[in-house]
């Protein structure tokens, strides 16, 4: 264990702190560290294959990326993938078809589904009706693992067909989204609430839920 520093000798003289063998002087001091290129050289020496992995990743990922953009381009007529915005908007009817196509091109790993509630609001471009947005993320497995995501905009009460028949992992995630945000999934084997008790009414993660709590939700 480290021991704290030894107390100063004489208060009058400038107490030079005795060098603390554990080097944890007052623990505010900082490890200077090595220059960056020296660090990179040391790591490269210890990890010969690191560069190989990076090339393999970039090559495989570029190939997968090309497949995905091609898929979106031809079958869904979607130009850019709007990665900054979480993926292109896909009509609700073609949601399962896209998932099936992506699974065939190698995106076999089901990552997550995230539903969000967008209440009606008046924006500059005219007032938007209330809507729900369901984003789904899939990932390809192995070197060059790439994640692809797309979004579907739903009117309140509209149902989205479930991915549970395709991916068994989607079962619980979709149940959680139904429980917390209230988006129903068509064809889901047993759509019950996952977190809340079954007789709970209301969906907690909606923007209009529990606004009147003690602490106003938006500080």
């Amino acid at each position: 264990m480290s021991e704290t520093t030894t107390p100063a000798a004489a208060p009058a003289a400038a107490p030079t702190p005795a060098p603390d063998p554990s080097g944890l002087t007052g623990a505010a001091g900082v490890l200077p560290g090595k220059p960056v290129d020296e660090m990179k050289a040391a790591l490269a020496a210890a990890n010969p294959h690191a560069a190989e992995h990076v090339q393999a990743n970039t090559a495989k990922r570029a190939e997968r990326q090309a497949q995905v953009t091609a898929l979106f381009q031809e079958r869904f007529g979607v130009g850019d993938l709007e990665v900054a915005n979480g993926g292109p908007l896909i009509p609700a009817a073609r949601h399962a078809e896209l998932a099936r196509a992506l699974k065939d091109t190698g995106f076999t790993f089901y990552v997550t589904v995230a539903a969000s509630h967008w209440p009606a609001q008046k924006t500059k471009t005219g007032d938007e009706p209330e809507s729900f947005e369901v984003a789904t993320v899939l990932r390809s497995v192995g070197p060059g693992s790439l994640q692809v995501s797309w979004r579907v905009k739903l009117a309140p009460g509209e149902e989205l067909d479930s991915l549970a028949p395709l991916f068994a992992g989607a079962d619980w995630q979709e149940r959680e989204q139904f429980d917390l945000v209230g988006v129903r999934f068509l064809g889901h084997p047993d759509l019950r609430r996952l977190m809340m008790p079954d007789e709970w009414e209301g969906h907690p993660l909606r923007r209009d839920y529990a606004i009147d709590t003690r602490c106003e939700p938006w500080r």
């Binding site: 264990m1 480290s2 021991e3 704290t4 520093t5 030894t6 107390p7 100063a8 208060p11 400038a14 107490p15 030079t16 702190p17 005795a18 944890l24 002087t25 007052g26 623990a27 505010a28 001091g29 900082v30 200077p32 220059p35 602490c215 500080r219």
Partner: protein, 237 residues
Amino acid sequence: MGYLLSTLKSLYATLRQALSKPTTVEFPKVKRERAPRIRASFALTKDAAGDENCIGCKKCEKVCPSEVITVVASKKPSPVTGKARGYADDFTLNLQACIICELCVQVCPTDAIIMVKEQEAPGFSRADLTLTMDKLYKNAETKEKWAWANATVLGEHQKPAEEKKPALAPKPVPAAAAPTPTGAPATATPATAPPATAAPTAPATAAAPATNAATLAAARSPASVSPPPADEKKGGA
């Protein structure tokens, strides 16, 4: 047969562990050595001239994720310098809900609220666990209880690259004049031993917060490899 052989091996393994020294200590009698950076409880500091550091800006109240700090502030003439400045009339910190995330210490502009190394602060009633203002100031009495971090030191650790000025020669602090409460962040010595109370002489760690800023800046500059010996300026005592 395999069962018997590996049973003997397991027995041998436990025998070796049984013969080695146990790692637990009898806790109440023997205290375990904690790290210098341990974050346990809180304290409010006073500056060199004995004036309260806290100016009642309520930044800590806003930043606290679990909303345990409540501050009642007002403008009053300062008993030491006579000028009117902000003071906290009532500062309560409810330790029951505090998650020790150290954000209040970080955002405090005048290094008023700091953490102390006190190992554990057991409370036998809810009132014990609500740190009122006098408890907070009493916590700051003995210097070696101070933890390592206050806003300046934490700020030093997180200073982004471009603002890294070379290590300034530390501005000699005139013993008499009290540094202005805001205090220039880089070099002012925010807190030294209060002259009024017969505080024990400042052991090395006590001076640590004062010299840390300088040694840190020095240590940070790539040129110097080993931190320089503690600079000549000592907190006035």
